[in-house]
Structure formats: structure tokens, C-alpha cells
Symmetry: C2
Subunit: 272 residues, 2 copies
């Protein structure tokens, strides 16, 4: 049984392991009235990755609680987009880091404002100096251990829409809140799940959609300067709230912007 | 001004960035009645590392709140040892990972039971299969991002007192809740702060004490199998609650146990 906390009217116990150790995961879901955009993708990722961490959760119960949270938290104005945040933790207890057996999984639900969406064809990005170092055993999981993204975000100057993080080799790994996909010649290249911190649901959706359209998608690391690759045609930021956003300039160097991804998959349309 | 929450009578807002992203730090302090053991070391580390993360905190205020928490939470039986836990977070707010400017630092204080202390000369340890991958920019900081230690702790079988984590090269880095120091010939070797996840205050205390006693302490990585180093004399686990504990067996191989560390520094005496 999930211990559900609705953040609008109660606090979280200070003993929660999500607070103590980041022992949990989260989802940030774009909502259109009562409809959760990419609902199945978010639920699947949350349930799958909870299992990877050994956090016990029943899929049907998670599904039901998402519906309950939606009815409770949706704004009265049914057309207003909003954000539903789910935090799933291993609950309270245990001996230090060692989890209790059994543990009581806790779900914390809250509503947030929709952030402003870029209204231009492309955005300005810069690489962060704070590196992103991924433990392959936690790769791809949207855990509550996100201090690297927080520290990189402190480098925002206000002039850029996203900061892209590099690994120890200098390769581009992902943005603070977005995944990357590049078009090079007729291929789409995105860093593999084993090498990224968060495997976003929009990344998943876009990859499936491209493959279904007959495109070639390759999971491979992105060199420190992908814009200089022969045949480079564009770099895109993927996020389930914003959709797909083209990078028009990276570290003050203009990049080509190609509309193919939007033309093939219309991923933004799924957000409407 | 610190926003102080006493966990015995209130919850933490679900918007807290400590819960959302592990955006904070913590200290676990051994208490003897109203006395905080290694008090100055804990306060110094918390204040210094908060500054590294850009979390604003005033030392004098932290000091005062530690005293307040002690009076409020200390058990009536003044002789009973207990644990005081301080969690310091960047507070609530911000745009996603990006912290608000200014942020309101939050201090969450709670009391916990003293864990059982080993009553033998040495303990059994095993290496964990879950690796410890350190981002050098966060190295040594006791942040709330501790999922690697939680995951390694899930490997406890009940037969060992500690699980020691390895890095990508297989070197021994630290225990789930302890730092390491080895005696090899006439030198003391401990992995450098730049390569460890948590730089414990007992590690700091023991290093200072050894140096003050004329011993040679070297910060250097520990090979995958330190017990086979020529002149190896002992491996010790350091923790501010437990003090110094010798490893008598690592992965079922017996190790020599040498009483020098206790003889020179009596670090356990500071805990009484």
C-alpha cells in the first residue's frame, strides 16, 4: 500500500529517505486539464526505475493515484496547462543508509505552474563548466540525487535557455533539464542510456517515433563539438514539458536548424 | 535567517529542495547528554561545505541552533548516548533545478537512537558490488545525494559489519558509512578528499592526531587488494559515531590487526 501525501495540505516527515538520502525518484508531468501528456511513458518509467532501485510499487496503484491526484489538484480553469509532480520515495526508517525490510513506499503529489515555453524556432545554449559524472548502475534513472544539475544550473546567466553538461571526456551528455539528439547526415544520434543521468520520456517518445518513420537512430556519445562533425544538420533538446527545441547557438557558435524532427514526428502536437 | 524545523513536531514542506533534488547536506553527531562529540569538526565541515554548494549560512547562527536543538531534543536520562541529526537544505523555491535568488536556508533537526557499537577488537567487512563514482566537484561533501550508499547497503547479508565500496578502477574508496585508513610499513594511507564521497570528521580528527604524534599520513588511493601490499599492517574504518574499528577480515581473507592507531590517538576516548 502506498503512503500518499498531498503536498497542498500536509508536510513530509523529516524521516523520509527521499529527503535523507535522495532515496527515491520523481516525474514532472505536463497536464492539459485532467489529461496527463505522455501518461503511459511517465508511469512506465516510474514503475520500471523504482524496480531497479528495489522500491516496491504496484503499477495499478500508481495509475490510480495519478488519477486521484489529477482530480484533486487540477486547476478549475480546465484549459490552463499545469504541471503534476510525483515524488516516489522508499518511505521512512531503516538503519542509516540500509533500507528497512519491508519498506513502505511513499508517494508525494503536488501541482506546479507551467514554466514559460520558448516561442522562437531555436534557443541559445551554452556548455556548463560543472561536469556530469554518471554511475552506470544508476544511469537513466530520474532519481532524487540531482545536485549536479542544481550546481550546473547555478551557472545560468539569463542569456541562455539551457546549459549542456559534459562528462569527464568532454562529450556532451545532456542539458540540465533536457536530453540531446543530433542530426548528422541522415542519422539521428543520441547518447546511450548507460551514459546519461536521466533518460527522459520525450527522448523515448522521439526515438520510437523516428524509428517508426523509417529513420535511423543511433545511441552513441556526442563528441565535445558535434557542430563540427561532417554532415551535421542540427542539435535538439528534448523534454516532456517543452517538447523539442532546436539549439540555434551553442557557446556563441551558430548551428544549423533543420525542421525535420518536427516534420516527421510532430512531438509538440502530442503536448496540445 | 535560518528556517528551523524540529522534526519532533512538524513536517518538511514537500517543496523543500533537499527532498526534490538532494540539494543540501547533513551531519550525524554523537551526543553524550548535552555534549556534541567533535562538535567543532561537525560545525566547521557543515559551514565549509555549505559554502562550496553556495548554500548561505552564518556560522554563529548554526552554532546557536545546534545548542537550541540539543536542549530541546536531549533525552531526560543525561547519560544515555544519542544521535543528533542536522539536515541543511537550500530551502524551497526556484525554477526547477535553478535555485531561487536569494534562497532561504532551512535547518531540520532531529534526534535518533544510538546504533549498537561493535564490542569486538575487529569486524568483518566485505567489498560491495555497487560502485562508488565520485564527481570531483562534489568530492568529500556529505550531501543529501547518497543513493549509491543506499544501494550498496542493500547488499548487507547480516554477516558483515561494513561494506566497502570500490571506484571504477577497483580501488577501495570508502565504506558505506565509514572512511578508510591503512597502515603500511610505517605510513598511514587514506584515499584523498578529491577521490572520496564523504570526508568524515573522524578521518579528519585521526589524521590530525597522527600527524601531531609524528606519524606519516599519506593521501593516496588504496589498491584493490591493500592486504597484499608489502608491509601491510592493518585496515581501519573511521566514523564519528563508532570511532575507529579495525577490519579483521575482508572478503573472507583475514587481515592483521594492529593496535597502534588506538594507542597513539585514543580517538575512541574523545567519544566518551
Amino acid at each position: 500500500m502506498l503512503n500518499v501525501i498531498s503536498a497542498d495540505h500536509e508536510g513530509v516527515p523529516a524521516t523520509d529517505r527521499g529527503l535523507a538520502y535522495g532515496d527515491g525518484l520523481f516525474e514532472t508531468i505536463r497536464m492539459s486539464g485532467q489529461r496527463a501528456v505522455l501518461r503511459r511513458y511517465h508511469l512506465d518509467r516510474l514503475a520500471t526505475d523504482a524496480r531497479r532501485l528495489g522500491i516496491v510499487v504496484d503499477y495499478a496503484e500508481l495509475d490510480r493515484e495519478l488519477t486521484n491526484a489529477t482530480s484533486r489538484l487540477a486547476p478549475i480553469d480546465a484549459d490552463r496547462p499545469w504541471i503534476l509532480k510525483l515524488i516516489l520515495t522508499r518511505g521512512s526508517g531503516g538503519r542509516g543508509y540500509r533500507p528497512p525490510e519491508p519498506s513502505e513506499t511513499r508517494l508525494i503529489v503536488s501541482a506546479a505552474e507551467m514554466p514559460p515555453i520558448p516561442d522562437t524556432d531555436s534557443v541559445v545554449a551554452r556548455t556548463a563548466s560543472f561536469p556530469l559524472i554518471v554511475n552506470s548502475r544508476l544511469a537513466g534513472i530520474k532519481t532524487l540525487n540531482r545536485l549536479e544539475q542544481v550546481m550546473a544550473s547555478r551557472e545560468f546567466t539569463g542569456d541562455e535557455w539551457e546549459l549542456i553538461m559534459r562528462n569527464a571526456h568532454g562529450d556532451l551528455v545532456e542539458g540540465t533539464r533536457t536530453n540531446l539528439i543530433a542530426r548528422v547526415k541522415d542519422e539521428w544520434i543520441t547518447p546511450p542510456v548507460s551514459a546519461i543521468a536521466v533518460a527522459g520520456v520525450m527522448r523515448q517518445y522521439a526515438m520510437e517515433c523516428l524509428v517508426a518513420s523509417g529513420e535511423t537512430v543511433i545511441e552513441r556519445s556526442l563528441t565535445p563539438d558535434p557542430g563540427s562533425l561532417p554532415g551535421f544538420r542540427g542539435l535538439y533538446l528534448l523534454n516532456s514539458v517543452f517538447g523539442v527545441v532546436a539549439v540555434g547557438s551553442l557557446d556563441s557558435v551558430d548551428l544549423p536548424v533543420d525542421g525535420t524532427l518536427a516534420t516527421i514526428c510532430h512531438p509538440l502536437k502530442t503536448l496540445e
